[in-house]
Subunit: 384 residues, 2 copies
């Protein structure tokens, strides 16, 4: 039978009905007092979500656009930057830096492993001339389900003193604690179709005072992504260019829902769903790509050895109308990824695990006790 | 009483109910076959709307982002460009060019007047070394309601041979005939909250083969707006970065509606609404900013002398919940602007004119016969 699609990919993520309905309102003028009021409320709630007193700037762009803005506003051609590379998105930021003529050094780790903060520390300590202007880290690497140790890496950057820390928080913001002001993060970028629980189309970036200092002398060319203009407008509850008004209506509602749930509860829910998913996979004899101590709270990557990852996705879609993500680049065909980011309830995780059990049985996965996955998830969810 | 807001500004423009409802569908994965099929349909219909065989590339960005992409992909630092400047948006493109280090020459006209194609011709003919790499023209200047003579200017650019013609068609596309392939326009950019009849959030740009040739050697840095990537993806009914899925659902529906109405009918409707608005203003003794022979079909700017433009807007909003736009920059407070772009029916024009008559009477506008504006609009609408 036809059913509603259950969207369990790491973005776009499920959207609450009341957010979808908020988007159906007729647009109003973006320079009207009514819309300024909405921008004001949104900006307050974005600061709350980001745990920061800095402005959170809203761009009409995907997360990639927000990262580009976060990088190019604070650097000049030939600046030396370090990019932690252990997945597709980290690799994208390195390519972006190269496209803008930055002296780009990759610190690599295997896809599926976390970055080693020590390697970054060594590079920073060796840089006695303070030539390194930025360290770019993907907090939750969506392509592998790895959570990098941002807190430790950031400590090394702080000890260096000159470099800015620039963070891709696209799938970490709203899924795991990210105390921006407490850690002193300089640039943090994210996208709407993730923890925000709204459709894609908006990018967000928040900037420290230290980074704004660099903005004054940064020489990479920019116009649409000139964040100084967004900052000026934010002070007047406005935007420099026309914002996606209907998405903003959705964002307003989603942020209200998030405040109602509370940050701690949101993080705890993501933690429970992550652990339930991971324990279920283990109980079903399915290897996890990322280790337990570096597990993204947004997405779990599974690397099955006895069944074909793409066949798992195909049966899950056809028989249950559950969308899982596949592998990207060198992981294509080797993994499937279960998104549990944003508007995902415990019930959804149980649905995925129980449907996956049927799928695995149909595909001839051996050494599996039907119900074992659900039982493992049960233990996590009942205890926590 | 409370009423539905009647949005008569030149963007965001009114959105049909079925487009708003299309946006409420739950997002699906942007890499799914279902979404590829939607992209394929949209891309076909965009080509139809643009009267071109070239790809029309869809960006998650406002119209300004689309213009930036259209400019920076085909030029190198210090390239000489001519920008026709007779309004706020044209001025924005000149500033954008300067921000990217282009040798930027403005060809000015008074705000409210059309560009003089002769001045541009002279500059192009004097450039025997073929140093001018682009001529940038705002077709319909939203800030003044002026339609520039793109066809003539383009003919001069074609005679030059080297320069690309780059067009801001943000409020002309879908309101007035713009035969891109027939005229051989190189870069044409537009935005979703205009003739497209959908909310803001999408930018569009279409590129000629000649411009793609320049792309190969153009050296301005780019990543998010690297149109080569969008072109590659369009060939696979995909996008390089996550598109605003729900806006795309709306776009799909809006383009279906436009095809059903037909291009000629759409242009004729805009023509009727423009003439009805203009004749009504004249009959009410309200001076028009733009001359008849250079009238935007998207927006009519009115420069009242006996009443305060901002008071007109204020009464229209409070008493009738009709939103009109104000003046920008040096025209602030001096004009009000009536949008008649996109999903605007003859009925809406009559509503605005008749409400404006009440407003004018309340504000003490003299030399006015109540009903004269509606009668003038009547003559246009009944005859055409």
């Amino acid at each position: 039978m036809e059913n509603n699609n259950l969207l369990m990919i790491p973005g776009p993520t499920p959207v609450p009905e009341k957010v979808l309905l908020a988007q159906t309102k007729h647009p109003i003028g973006h320079r009207s007092p009514e819309f300024s009021e909405i921008i004001g409320e949104i900006n307050d709630n974005l600061k709350w979500l980001h745990q920061t007193q800095n402005d959170v700037l809203t761009l009409t762009a995907s997360g990639t656009g927000a990262m580009e803005a976060g990088i190019i506003n604070f650097l000049s051609p030939s600046d030396r930057v370090i990019v932690g590379c252990n997945g597709k998105f980290a690799e994208r930021w390195a390519e972006l830096c190269e496209a803008f003529g930055l002296q780009t050094e990759r610190v690599n780790a295997e896809w599926g492993e976390a970055l080693d903060p020590e390697t970054i520390r060594e590079k920073l300590e060796a840089d006695t001339n303070k030539e390194i202007k930025a360290v770019i880290v993907t907090h939750s690497e969506t392509s592998t389900g790895v959570l990098n140790d941002l807190e430790t890496i950031n400590r090394h950057v702080k000890n260096h003193g000159e470099a800015l820390i620039m963070v891709d928080a696209v799938t970490s913001l709203g899924s795991v604690n990210l105390p921006i002001d407490q850690w002193g993060l300089d640039v943090v970028a994210s996208g709407s179709q993730k923890g925000y629980m709204i459709p894609p189309g908006l990018g967000f970036v928040t900037i420290s005072e230290k980074a704004w200092g660099r903005y004054e002398t940064a020489k990479l060319p920019k116009f649409y992504f000139d964040l100084g203009e967004y900052r000026k407008s934010a002070g007047k509850n406005s935007t420099p260019y026309t914002p996606p008004i209907n998405l903003m209506f959705g964002l307003q509602t989603a942020l209200q829902m998030m405040r109602e749930e509370g940050l701690d509860n949101i993080f705890a829910r993501h933690e429970r769903n992550t652990q339930a998913t991971r324990e279920a996979m283990k109980a079903l004899g399915l290897p996890l790509l990322a280790p337990d101590n570096a597990a993204s709270r947004a997405v779990t990557a599974v690397a099955p050895t006895t069944v074909d990852a793409e066949k798992v996705r195909s049966v899950m879609k056809k028989q249950f109308d559950i969308s899982l993500a596949g592998g990207q680049n060198q992981l294509k065909g080797k993994i499937f990824r279960i998104g549990h980011l944003g508007f995902v309830a415990e019930r959804d995780v149980l649905t995925v695990v129980s449907s996956l059990e049927v799928t695995l049985r149909e595909l001839g996965h051996e050494n599996m006790t039907p119900g074992a996955g659900v039982a493992a998830a049960n233990r996590v969810l009942a205890e926590s």
